[in-house]
Symmetry: C2
DNA sequence: AGGAGAGGTTAGCGGTCGTTAACCTGAAGG
DNA sequence: CCTTCAGGTTAACGACCGCTAACCTCTCCT
């Protein structure tokens, strides 16, 4: 991963603040003036960087689904044959947790504002999401061959619900601590999958 | 439970359709004209039944949190001392699943549109939600005494995320079937709690 | 020196939305 | 029979919002 040390571009600032605001108050609940104000410019100045409010949401959602999928593919490739299937699943879980903890606003948007997208963008995002899900499903079924495919798919969606609960957990920097929270979520996800496979 | 056979009142029709629409397109994404049209009257006619759009959302959210809490208290009382703690937890899980499966739009609103409420209503809903969570936490800690309280609370929130994933599951009346889905979610929730308690 | 373009600004238009006002109508009650 | 009132209707207002237009001002590049 090419770690970035340089300052974020204006576009990136805007996307970050827009994500936060959209997550807090919903897409329709945020005005362009507010987004502008959050980055120190005002209202219509945003249109020098984005075609419109819709375009910001689209870029955010496509970006999220894309990087989730890319990250998962990367982790799958690193495990390439050698590692035990359980290890690969652990790696997927770890990647998703990192994302859910570090980018809460994006995780929130991800399953909340999808329907506000234009048809073409929505289809793209849905396709990326579906690929991501199917990738998980195949790994889960390697670890638990007893799981029928539709059941495995339901289980994966439910575990996403579990992992994506981070925005409801105590505010960032609170008692449990990041690593402890990550470990807890990881254990629970594993336990949930194991239970799904029992006596199906 | 007093089963209702009589026709729903107009107020109830409105609330039901409003819940569906709010869940589909978000509170700000739905106009009063659409809500009216969904029940066969038009726009401002709604104001004979509700003080405003906000009031509809408030009544929905207060109603949800209230009946979740009431149902949980009821189940707790029925178990009164006699039953094993694990049985009580199973009962709580079952109640929540029934709700999550049968009232998907409400479950969606429940954790999505809370911030659109007026201060006073929001505080009320949050208080009901907190009571509900604390009730779960105490039951969970009876079953798994090793769990520290903050960890148990996080685990409860995460399991809610898992159970509330129903809207993402295959559309109503699809393959897995209601009882199979309920059983799967139940197993997974139990497995997640058990895993949370392991080697904490 | 002098365009040119990137990145701002403010003013304002057009549409939408929540809400109110004013009016209508059918059914129930004395 | 006439009043009342619950539950509708349409018209319209005021506010807000996304977006465009027109203009300004630096910073390069040649």
């Amino acid at each position: 991963m090419a770690t970035r040390t340089d300052a974020p571009t204006r576009r990136e600032q805007i996307l970050k603040e827009a994500a936060r605001l959209f997550a807090e108050r919903g897409f329709h609940g945020v005005g362009v003036d507010e987004i502008g104000a959050a980055v120190g410019i005002s209202g219509p100045g945003l249109y020098r960087h984005f075609a419109g409010k819709d375009a910001m949401l689209a870029e955010l959602l496509v970006g999220i689904s894309g990087s989730l999928l890319t990250g998962a593919k990367q982790r799958l490739k690193e495990a390439e044959g050698a590692a035990a299937p359980g290890t690969v699943l652990d790696s997927l879980i770890e990647g998703h947790i990192d994302f859910a903890i570090d980018d809460r606003p994006l995780i929130t948007l991800h399953d909340r504002e999808l329907d506000r997208l234009r048809d073409t963008d929505r289809k793209l995002v849905r396709q990326l999401q579906r690929q991501y899900v199917e990738l998980w499903v195949s790994v889960v079924r390697e670890v638990y061959p007893a799981l029928a495919e539709p059941v495995a798919r339901s289980a994966v969606h439910s575990v996403f619900g579990l992992l994506n609960s981070t925005p409801h957990l105590t505010r960032p920097g609170s008692l449990p601590g990041r690593t402890a929270t990550a470990a807890l979520l990881h254990r629970m996800a594993r336990g949930a999958f194991a239970a799904a496979a029992e006596a199906e």
